[in-house]
C-alpha cells in the first residue's frame, strides 16, 4: 500500500481535514456506510483515547477483511465499558476470556480457523498496556514466536486505569500513579524501569511492528490496513491518553497524544522483520515540558518546587528517541 505524504498544515493544530484530500483518500469514518465495530452507547469516560483508538483500528481491520474479523479482548477498560451484560457495544464477533491470555486465545481462534479452512476470517487481539506488557506478556511473546496469524493491538495508556491508575510496566518514569505516588525523594514512577514492547516485539522478528497514536487516526488506519494485508504475527502499539489516569482535560486527549509524538517521547514508527522501515517525522520538536504540563500525573515536577533535574531527564529520553528513530524532518524536505 502506498500513501502519499500529505503536508496540509492548514490549521493551528496541524490537523488534516478531509476537505483537503481527494475524496477517495477521505476518512472512512466520515462515510455513512462505514463499518462500526464499536458502536455508540458504551460507558467509556469522556475523552477516552482507548475507545477512539479501538474504534478506528477495528473499523480499519474490518474494512480490509470484508467485515470477517473475530476479536479477542483482554480484561480491562475496553472490555468493561463495552460489555456490561446484557448490553454490548460490539458489532463484531467478540470474545473476552481473561486478563492475561488474549494473545493465546487469539492463537486458538486462528488455529481453529486454519483447521476449518476459514483463513478468510481474520483475528485481532486487543488489550491495554497492563494486559500486554505485564500479565499477558508471556502469552504475547509465545504468539509472536510461533508467528501465529494474529494482529495484536495494544492500547497503551501507561497504567492500570480500570483498577484505579496503578503503575504498569509501561508507566513512564516520573509519572504519578496510585502505586507510584508523588511523595518522597523521587516522586512518581522510577527511572530505568519499564518495558518497551514495540522493541521487544521487533526482537521476535515478526512480519510487522508499528506504533501509532490517536492524534493521527489516518496513520493508525493506514497501519492497521497494512498489517491486515500481511499474515503471521503483527503488533500495533497505540498510545491512547487517559484523562482519568493522566489527570488531563477530556478535550485534550488528541492534543496530548500529538505532543507525545512531537516531543519525541513517543516515537511513531514501523518495523518489518525486526528492522525499522519508517518513522513519522516531526516538523518541529516541542520541549517535553509542553507535554508534561497538561497532565496532573506530572504535576509534582512543577509544583510546589520545579524539578528541572527530572524534566531534563525526560527531555534526554525524548532526545534519544529523536536520534534512535531519526524523527526530525530534514531541513531540505
Amino acid at each position: 500500500m502506498t500513501t502519499a505524504p500529505i503536508k496540509f498544515y492548514q490549521v493551528g493544530s496541524y490537523a488534516i481535514g478531509n476537505r483537503l484530500l481527494p475524496s477517495a483518500a477521505g476518512s472512512v469514518q466520515s462515510d455513512a456506510d462505514r463499518t462500526n465495530a464499536l458502536t455508540s452507547g458504551h460507558r467509556a469516560c469522556q475523552g477516552c483515547g482507548e475507545a477512539l483508538g479501538a474504534r478506528y483500528a477495528l473499523d480499519a481491520a474490518m474494512r480490509v477483511a470484508n467485515n470477517k474479523v473475530i476479536t479477542v479482548n483482554a480484561t480491562g477498560c475496553l472490555e468493561v465499558f463495552s460489555t456490561p451484560y446484557p448490553e454490548t457495544s460490539w458489532r463484531i464477533a467478540w470474545l473476552h476470556s481473561l486478563f492475561g491470555n488474549a494473545p493465546a486465545v487469539a492463537t486458538g481462534i486462528a488455529a481453529a480457523l486454519k483447521a476449518k479452512g476459514r483463513t478468510d476470517i481474520r483475528v485481532v487481539g486487543q488489550g491495554g498496556d497492563g494486559a500486554t506488557v505485564d500479565i499477558g506478556f508471556g502469552a504475547l511473546s509465545g504468539m509472536f514466536e510461533r508467528n501465529d496469524d494474529v494482529l495484536y493491538i495494544c492500547y497503551d495508556n501507561e497504567a492500570y486505569m480500570n483498577t484505579g491508575v496503578q503503575r504498569s510496566g509501561a508507566t513512564p518514569p516520573a509519572a504519578r500513579t496510585s502505586t507510584t505516588q508523588a511523595v518522597g525523594e523521587a516522586p512518581g514512577n522510577v527511572f530505568g524501569q519499564g518495558k518497551n514492547l514495540p522493541r521487544i516485539a521487533m526482537a521476535h522478528e515478526i512480519p510487522y511492528v508499528a506504533t501509532a497514536t490517536v492524534a493521527d487516526l489516518r496513520d493508525l488506519e493506514n497501519k492497521v490496513e497494512k498489517a491486515m494485508q500481511m499474515r503471521g504475527a503483527r503488533y500495533l502499539h497505540v498510545l491512547v491518553p487517559c484523562p482519568l489516569g493522566w489527570g488531563s482535560q477530556s478535550c485534550d486527549t488528541v492534543k496530548i497524544a500529538r505532543l507525545a509524538t512531537e516531543s519525541g517521547l513517543f516515537p511513531v514508527f514501523e518495523a518489518e522483520r525486526g528492522e525499522v522501515t519508517a518513522s513519522k517525522k516531526i516538523r518541529r520538536q516541542v520541549p517535553v515540558e509542553e507535554y508534561l504540563k497538561l497532565q496532573a500525573r506530572y504535576g509534582h515536577l512543577f509544583s510546589p518546587k520545579r524539578r528541572d533535574d527530572v524534566i531534563d531527564h525526560l527531555q534526554a529520553m525524548a532526545d534519544r528517541n529523536i536520534v534512535r528513530y531519526d524523527l526530525l524532518e530534514s531541513a531540505g524536505e
Binding site: 460489555t83 454490548t88 470474545l95 476470556s97 481473561l98 492463537t107 486458538g108 481453529a112 501465529d148
Partner: protein
C-alpha cells in the same frame, strides 16, 4: 482393535479418532507421551484437519483451547500437577464460558516438596472448577472415557477432565481395545457449538455480568452440571451399544450388593483393591468395592443407593485436605447423611507410594472389627513423624 500398547498411546489414538481440530499442550510429566503421540500424528498427516499448537505455558494451552472451542473447533489438551495449577484461571474460565473442551489430567502430586509421581492432589484441587471429572480405572477405560468425554462435553456444553493415574496408567503397557474411526464416527457426531464466534452472526462472548444477574448465571451452570448425572450414564449406554463393552458411567460397584464392608476408591488403585477383596471374600469376609468414576458432579443418589445396606465403608483416597482429612470421604458423608454407617478414611498412595496388597489386607482386617481410626494414613512411618514433630515442638 486389540493392541498391546502404552496407556498414553492408547489415549492419543482414542483422541485422534475423535477428530479433534485444535490440540495444544505444554510438556509436563507424566502427560507428555500423549501429546507427543498426537503431535506426530498431526505432523505426519495421519490426523488431518487438526492444528497442533506448541504453547509456552499451561495457561496458554488452556487459553488456546478456549479460543478454538469458542470458534467451534473440537479442542483438546492434556496436563498434570503444577501444570493444572498454572492454568487454573483459564480452567475456571472455560467452564464459566461453557466451552466443551476435553482435557486429560495424568494425575500427579503437587508440590512442594516437588514430586513427579502419582496421586490425585492435582485434580482434587480442581473439584469446584465447574469441569466434569471422570476417573479411569484402567487404560481401556481411559481410552474409552476420552471418546465419551467429547460426547458428554458437547451435549452439555461443559468441559470434561479425564483423570488417569500418572505413570501407573500413562506409562503402563497393557492390552487395550483401541476405539476405531468407524466406531467413533457412529458414536460421536460432529461438534455443533451452542454459540460460536462467527463474523456472519457476531456475538459478544464473555461480557461482564454484575450482581443483578451473576447468581442466575451461576445457577444455570449448576443446573447444567447436575444434568451430567443423567447424560453420563446415557452416554455410557450408547457407547456400549456401539463398542460392545461397558465403560464409564457414574459408579462401578464390585461385589458391593449385600456386602457389610464396602471399600470406596477412584482410579487405578481399584484394581489392587479388587484383588484384595477377592482374597478376603475367599476367607469369608463380607466385603465389596464401589468405584467412583464421576467425581464431578458427584452422584450422591446412586452412591447412597449402592451403600445404604452396608455396615461400614472404607474410603481410600490419594489426596486430602490439609488439616481436614478426606475429600472423597466428605462427599461420601454427604451421600450417606442420616444413615448409620461407620466411615473410615484412608489416605494412601501419596506422591507415588505403592499401595500394596499386604497393606490393604491389614487395613481391611482392622476395619472389619471397627478397630481402624477414623482417619488413617496408610503405611505412615509413625515413629519418624513422631520424632520430627517432637523436634519442632522443642525448637519452638
Amino acid at each position: 482393535m486389540l493392541k498391546q500398547i502404552e496407556g498414553s498411546r492408547a489415549v492419543a489414538e482414542a483422541v485422534a479418532v475423535c477428530r479433534p481440530e485444535v490440540i495444544c499442550a505444554y510438556p509436563i510429566s507424566p502427560q507428555t507421551h500423549i501429546v507427543e503421540g498426537l503431535s506426530r500424528m498431526v505432523k505426519s498427516g495421519e490426523l488431518l484437519g487438526c492444528e497442533f499448537v506448541n504453547v509456552e505455558s499451561e495457561f496458554a494451552a488452556m487459553s488456546v483451547a478456549i479460543g478454538a472451542s469458542a470458534t467451534g473447533a473440537r479442542a483438546y489438551t492434556a496436563t498434570a500437577s503444577q501444570g493444572l495449577l498454572y492454568m487454573i484461571e483459564a480452567v475456571y474460565n472455560a467452564s464459566g464460558l461453557g466451552l466443551p473442551i476435553v482435557m486429560t489430567v495424568a494425575n500427579r502430586a503437587i508440590g512442594g516438596p516437588i514430586n513427579i509421581w502419582n496421586d490425585h492432589s492435582d485434580a482434587m484441587s480442581q473439584r469446584d472448577c465447574g469441569w466434569i471429572q471422570l476417573y479411569a480405572e484402567t487404560n481401556q477405560e481411559a481410552a474409552d472415557l476420552h471418546v465419551q468425554a467429547f460426547k458428554i462435553a458437547e451435549e452439555l456444553s461443559l468441559p470434561v477432565m479425564v483423570c488417569m493415574d500418572g505413570f501407573i496408567l500413562t506409562h503402563a503397557y497393557e492390552q487395550v481395545d483401541v476405539p476405531e474411526q468407524e466406531q467413533v464416527d457412529k458414536f460421536l457426531p460432529p461438534f455443533v457449538p451452542r454459540q460460536v464466534l462467527d463474523p456472519a452472526n457476531p456475538v459478544s462472548i464473555g461480557a461482564m455480568v454484575g450482581p443483578e444477574a451473576f447468581t442466575e448465571v451461576r445457577y444455570i451452570t449448576h443446573a447444567n452440571t447436575l444434568r451430567a448425572l443423567d447424560v453420563i450414564p446415557e452416554v455410557a449406554k450408547e457407547f456400549e451399544g456401539v463398542f460392545h463393552r461397558h465403560s464409564g458411567g457414574l459408579i462401578r460397584p464390585y461385589k458391593c450388593a449385600g456386602a457389610e464392608t464396602v471399600v470406596i476408591a477412584l482410579g487405578s488403585m481399584l484394581g489392587t483393591i479388587k484383588d484384595v477383596v477377592d482374597e478376603q471374600r475367599e476367607a469369608g469376609v463380607s466385603i465389596g468395592v464401589l468405584g467412583i468414576i464421576s467425581f464431578r458432579p458427584f452422584p450422591f443418589d446412586v452412591v447412597r443407593t449402592a451403600l445404604r445396606n452396608a455396615t461400614r465403608v472404607i474410603i481410600i483416597e490419594k489426596a486430602f485436605s490439609l488439616g481436614i482429612g478426606g475429600i472423597v470421604a466428605e462427599n461420601i458423608r454427604m451421600a450417606l447423611a442420616g444413615i448409620d454407617i461407620a466411615k473410615y478414611t484412608v489416605i494412601a498412595g501419596l506422591g507415588g507410594r505403592q499401595i500394596t496388597k499386604a497393606s490393604l489386607h491389614e487395613l481391611f482386617e482392622t476395619a472389619v472389627t471397627d478397630d481402624l481410626r477414623a482417619l488413617t494414613f496408610l503405611d505412615l512411618d509413625q515413629e519418624l513423624v513422631d520424632t520430627e514433630i517432637a523436634k519442632t515442638r522443642v525448637q519452638s
